[in-house]
């Protein structure tokens, strides 16, 4: 297997590069095996660490207790029943979802654009922009939350005076406030990816008279995709779970799940919220599994093998 002069895909060069034990055998080093074992063990441990509390959450959603979550008092489905009857919780969940998806889309779009365009801006602009990116992450949430609220209310009053239009706090204000932090997040992720990128492909494309647009879509974008997807996921998560900013800039009818959960503290967090968490988990995992299954079935039917036969493959491998 000879390596082509310009590698276009990792699998062209070293199809076995992901299989470390092969190398270990060849070199015969037990130390390599130990390191492998440690890597695997560490990873497994981290996943356990992440999911163990989740398991506890799910288990306690079946807790028959009447108030607090932390004492087990028998098995019961009553909290699931209560969640189904509780429109307040359902509304909160739906609101969280709506805000998080919109924020994630906006932030991913604008953050990626910013990361790409920043190189073409004058140096002074770049410095200020980078400083602002850091500041948006540095500002403690309570500070930005309160000042954004003051900003909203004073500007809405001004708009009312000048144009007679009455703007209100609501989904838009929450999404706008969330998007700030997330745009920075995505931008930093994509830039990190960008800086490690191999420019030769881009050069090759230009040499072959490719237009910038095509070059972008066929060469750059696929390479950036993991960073973009990572940014999207993190943005969604941050927005979905946010409390402080959401609390201050939300209006009537826009209570999100964290707001609702925090507010029940005074009365005691009941297993109802555990049930909601468990349902969320169920839906997410179902979507993942179903997605994976569909792709697998599709691959089987069309005879595709290798990288394309999984959601993961489609996301990470380069197209074309």
């Amino acid at each position: 297997m000879t390596a082509p002069a310009t590698p276009v895909s990792r699998s062209d060069v070293l199809p076995n590069v992901d299989v470390a034990p092969g190398r270990a055998k060849r070199r015969g080093r037990t130390r390599d095996r130990l390191v492998e074992g440690w890597l695997r063990g560490h990873t497994l441990l981290i996943y356990l660490f992440l999911y163990f509390p989740i398991a506890v959450v799910v288990v306690f959603s079946f807790n028959a207790t009447n108030r607090r979550v932390t004492q087990w008092e028998g098995f019961s489905l009553k909290w699931y029943e209560s969640v189904l009857n509780d429109t307040v919780i359902q509304a909160a969940l739906a609101n969280s979802f709506r805000v998080a998806i919109t924020t994630a889309i906006l932030a991913t779009l604008f953050g990626t654009m910013a990361a790409l365009g920043l190189q073409r801006t004058p140096r002074w602009f770049r410095t200020i922009f980078e400083a602002l990116t850091f500041v948006s992450i540095i500002v403690p949430e309570i500070v930005i939350a309160l000042s954004t609220l003051v900003f909203y209310s004073t500007s809405f009053d001004a708009v009312h005076e000048l144009f007679g239009v009455r703007w209100r706090l609501g989904f838009e204000t929450i999404i706008a406030a969330h998007a700030l932090f997330n745009i920075s997040l995505v931008m930093l992720l994509v830039r990190a990816r960008l800086s490690g990128m191999d420019r030769t492909h881009v050069e090759a494309s230009f040499d072959l008279y490719g237009t910038p647009w095509r070059t972008f879509w066929q060469i750059t974008f696929p390479q950036l995709l993991p960073a973009i997807v990572a940014g999207f996921l993190l943005s969604f998560t941050f927005s979905f779970d946010d409390y402080v900013i959401t609390y201050f800039v939300s209006g009537a009818g826009t209570t999100t799940l964290p707001l609702y959960v925090f507010s029940t503290i005074r009365k005691g967090v009941t297993p109802a919220t555990n049930a909601v968490a468990a349902v969320m988990l169920l839906i997410t995992l179902t979507v993942l599994v179903v997605g994976q299954f569909l792709v697998w079935r599709n691959a089987r039917r069309t005879g595709q093998r290798g990288a394309q036969a999984s959601v993961a493959g489609m996301i990470t491998e380069q197209s074309g």
């Binding site: 390596a3 990792r10 590069v17 130390r31 695997r40 560490h42 990873t43 509390p53 989740i54 959450v57 306690f60 604008f110 654009m113 910013a114 790409l116 365009g117 190189q119 073409r120 801006t121 602002l132 992450i137 540095i138 500002v139 403690p140 949430e141 309570i142 500070v143 000042s147 003051v150 700030l180 931008m187 830039r191 990190a192 960008l194 800086s195 490690g196 990128m197 420019r199 050069e203 910038p212 070059t215 750059t220 390479q223 993991p226 997807v229 990572a230 996921l233 993190l234 979905f240 779970d241 409390y243 964290p258 503290i265 967090v269 919220t273 997410t284 036969a309 993961a312 996301i315 990470t316």
Partner: protein
């Protein structure tokens, strides 16, 4: 390879030059966002920091430096020190936890790479408060805390309410923020470089240090910034898992903005904090990046 990349910016012959300014416009939406939702609110904070607390709480227009004098009072600086210690240790722990897993998924993940990454973040789509309360059960007297207590025969042994519990909660909450940037840079790393390094006789550790680390440096920097900075403002995890025994800047700010409703003093404190952190971060980024060739080539 290297020469081609370096030669690129100097070649004006391609039509893409005329797209340069258009590309620059891509930053407009993000810039607008920063201007309206960051700069303006921050200006409000700065203005408030020179004001006075109105009798009923909140802000009253005035011009005074009292708030800054209070904020810089060396006697009340202990929350800052505690926060710093917490943030630094939390970041280091996250780094240690995240590096191996990011490396593993990036290099050994194969087809299931994205699934593995997704599975890392799925737990975070359940409410943060619920998960933290789950830790209360796990580490509490009915769980690990009580178990270890009986094991060592000390009935007043406690995991919760200690810095250990707080750090555990912090790593739990911030891990994805560290893993994702590192993964994203590692995954793009050209594996041939590692092959070459090993073929030239470098040890595994040597390869890691001289090839892997520099290439993924940007990811490491991004990850540490994304963890360290918000950690300085953290207050919920120390409040719940630390039983409030660990009093951080975040707690102090919340106390001033919400309980005392002394916005001018809180604002002054926030401004000082932001200034210190901004300087630190810029210094950190510059320090790590010096000596690395900055890539000026644009991809569009």
């Amino acid at each position: 390879m290297g020469t081609m990349a370096e030669a690129a910016p100097q070649t004006p012959a391609r039509p893409r030059r005329s797209y340069g300014s258009l590309t620059g416009l891509l930053v407009v939406p993000a810039s607008l966002w920063y201007l309206v939702l960051l700069v303006v609110p921050l200006l409000i904070v700065v203005v408030m920091s020179f004001g006075e607390k109105s009798r009923l709480g909140g802000y009253q227009p005035a011009f005074t430096l009292d708030n800054y004098i209070d904020a810089l009072d060396p006697q009340r600086v202990s929350p800052f020190i505690t926060s710093l210690a917490m943030a630094v240790s939390g970041t280091i722990l996250c780094l240690l936890a995240a590096l191996p897993i990011a490396y593993f998924i990036a290099t050994r993940g194969g087809r299931r790479k994205s699934l593995l990454i997704l599975l890392l973040i799925v737990p975070f789509w359940t409410s943060f408060l619920i998960r933290t309360y789950a830790w209360l059960t796990i580490l509490g007297p009915d769980g690990l805390g009580g178990f270890i207590g009986t094991l060592i025969g000390d009935s007043s042994f406690r995991i919760l309410g200690t810095p250990f519990a707080v750090l555990l909660g912090i790593v739990y909450a911030y891990l994805p923020l560290m893993v994702f940037p590192i993964y994203v840079t590692m995954e793009r790393m050209d594996r041939t470089l590692i092959e070459a390094s090993k073929d030239l006789g470098a040890s595994r550790w040597g390869t890691f240090r001289q090839v892997t680390l520099p290439i993924t440096a940007t990811g490491l920097i991004t990850g540490s910034i994304l963890v360290f900075i918000p950690l300085m403002g953290e207050y919920v995890v120390p409040a719940i898992l630390g039983y409030g025994r660990v009093f951080l800047i975040g707690n102090q700010l919340v106390l001033q903005f919400l309980e005392s409703r002394n916005w001018p003093e809180g604002s002054a404190r926030a401004v000082v904090l932001i200034a210190i952190m901004l300087v630190t971060v810029i210094f950190y980024v510059w320090f790590v990046n010096r000596g690395r060739r900055t890539r000026e080539v644009s991809v569009l």
